[in-house]
Amino acid sequence: MGREGVLNWVVALALLAVPLAAHALDEPFIVTLATKVAILALAGVGLNIALGLGGMVSLGHAAFFGIGGYAMAVLAAPVQAYEPLMTWPVELPGTKSMPVIWLAATLAGGLAALAIGALSLRTSGVYFIMITLAFGQMLYYFAISWPAYGGEDGISIYVRNGFPGLNTLDPIQFCALAYGVLMAALLFSRMLARSCFGLALSGARQNPARSAALGIRPYSVKLTAFVISGAITGLAGALFADLNRFVSPAMLSWQTSGEIMVFVILGGVARLFGPVAGAALFILLEHLLGGVSDYWKLFLGLALLGIVLFARGGLIGTLAGREVAHD
């Protein structure tokens, strides 16, 4: 196990130990912060598949994050209003069950990624960045102007959705759930990176012409990765909406896309635990600087600038040294 492997274990255990210790000391706020880190890291894990493995610089992942959030609200809102989800063609009730909601959010995120990716991947480079940004913005304005799901005000869910066998209203139990999902996604991401598909994706990133010559269509491979990436980010969106018991168009805004990207880059692009370290550092900075100054984002901006200009490779890259073997 190399230095990065050790570091990964340290990050994973810290994210488990901090909420447990906070729970023991009766500090539910810190447990909630750790839950937020786990959920935002999950969104980053999704983006990292597109960005790190596939080299697709998507500035529109808020679209999938928000769609996941709205999938949760659309399914759960009818239950609290005692109405069916739909009456035609078959009568279907809403649901407060997390596994069902997660499945729906993952599917919705993946389908949206399929549509957006199929169009955006016709281009590359800077066009791709701008187009993903524009599609994200399109959904943002749609959510604002479409009155059926709350419009600008969003939707509140009064009681957190349930998970069989757990009391999700208890902060530490919900935190454990988010942590479990994050670890499962990390495991999946690791397996994906080492699979034949992951190697094909790496090839498509590094040299599309050569992969095409080997019989691998870069477009299909990249699109598949983009869909997986959108699906995971959609799942994170459903969890995030459940954490806040609220969704609003702000989840779809381009600042959210920027922040998810910041998690990934802060931690280290293409590093397995990069998004986890990045999200933890971001939330820590937000919490610490936010207590000092109302203008904490100014210092966050300066810190980010410093990291991009002088500490390439992000947190994991700086601590673990040695670039991952690619390019």
């Binding site: 524009a134 479409w146 904490w296």
Partner: protein, 305 residues
């Protein structure tokens, strides 16, 4: 629906379009010449608007404010280029996105620190206030008409600058082959600073001019930035002509879509439903336009790809 209302909306769309052009021109130049994607371009738009509002508020002269907006945005652009952007030319787009995203945070929070969270208001100068009557008996605000004029004049000046002057030759040469023109003795880093400051000044001017139509507040630049991205994706990155055509296309599509779609839907739906469906669809229209252009021409209308 009266024809007069339609003409008025078309003029509004044209005015919106030429202001978008001022933003898009700087972005497309910076991308074409330096290969840099600059998310902080919207912040320069905001800097221009705040400089104009502050100076106009202090001196009472809109024109001094306008001059201040040009100077402040160009100075901010040059400063940012010298301290940060310069280090990003050799980096990949990902680093550029993150660094310029960080710059947005710095600009937005810095402005909030200086000016507070409340929006500032900028009055239209007295000489340009009020409506004029156009041929055909349409009353139209003079200020908006002047904006169209200024935008088109600047577009003309920019075509002249790029196509007919020594600086323009160097800019085009820089786009084509930066090593070669450096070898020919052109100070390439000075050229980059000038191009960046020029783009910044155009964005600042747009901010000041539009600031008189809406409120001047932190975060006003980002929606415009994203529309400017849509414009240059439609027009083709690096092409000034594409930016002009794309900007006017986007301005007209957006304004006329918001006006016509609810009317169109109300022919076969109830009025309230037609209004909400029409508004929701109108807000997506320019992105649908962009997707359409990409399907037909992935490199944009005037792109080289």
């Amino acid at each position: 629906m009266s024809v007069m209302l339609l003409i008025e909306q078309a003029l509004n769309g044209l005015q919106y379009g030429v202001m978008l052009f001022l933003m898009a021109a700087g972005l497309t130049l910076v991308f074409g010449v330096m290969g840099l994607i600059n998310l902080a371009h919207g912040s320069l738009f905001m800097v221009g608007a705040f400089a104009c509002a502050a100076v106009a508020g202090a001196t009472g002269s809109f024109w001094l404010g306008l001059a201040a907006s040009l100077a402040a945005a160009a100075a901010a652009g040059a400063l940012v280029e010298l301290t940060v952007i310069r280090r990003l030319y050799a980096r990949d787009h990902l680093d550029q996105v993150l660094a310029t995203f960080a710059l947005i945070l710095v600009f937005s929070e810095g402005t909030r620190w200086l000016f507070g969270s409340f929006p500032l208001y900028l009055d239209i100068p007295d000489a340009l206030a009020g409506p004029v009557t156009l041929p055909g008996g349409i009353d139209y605000p003079l200020y908006r008409l002047v904006l169209i004029g200024i935008g088109l004049a600047i577009a003309g000046a920019l075509f002249w600058l790029i196509g007919r002057t020594r600086l323009g030759i160097r800019i085009r040469a820089g786009e084509a082959d930066r090593e070669m023109i450096a070898a020919l003795g052109v100070d390439i880093s000075k050229l980059y600073t000038i191009v960046f400051a020029l783009g910044a000044a155009l964005a600042g001017l747009a901010g000041a001019l539009v600031g008189a139509l809406q409120s001047v507040q932190v975060g006003m630049g980002e929606p415009v930035l994203i529309l400017a991205f849509v414009v240059i994706v439609i027009g083709g990155i690096g092409s000034i002509k594409g930016a002009l055509v794309g900007a006017i296309l986007v301005g007209l599509t957006d304004t006329l879509g918001r006006f016509l779609l609810p009317i169109l839907f109300s022919t076969f739906m109830e009025t309230s439903a037609a209004t909400s469906v029409g508004a929701a669809l109108a807000s997506m229209l320019i992105y649908i336009l962009m997707a359409g252009v990409l399907v037909v021409r992935p490199g944009g209308l005037y792109g080289r790809a």
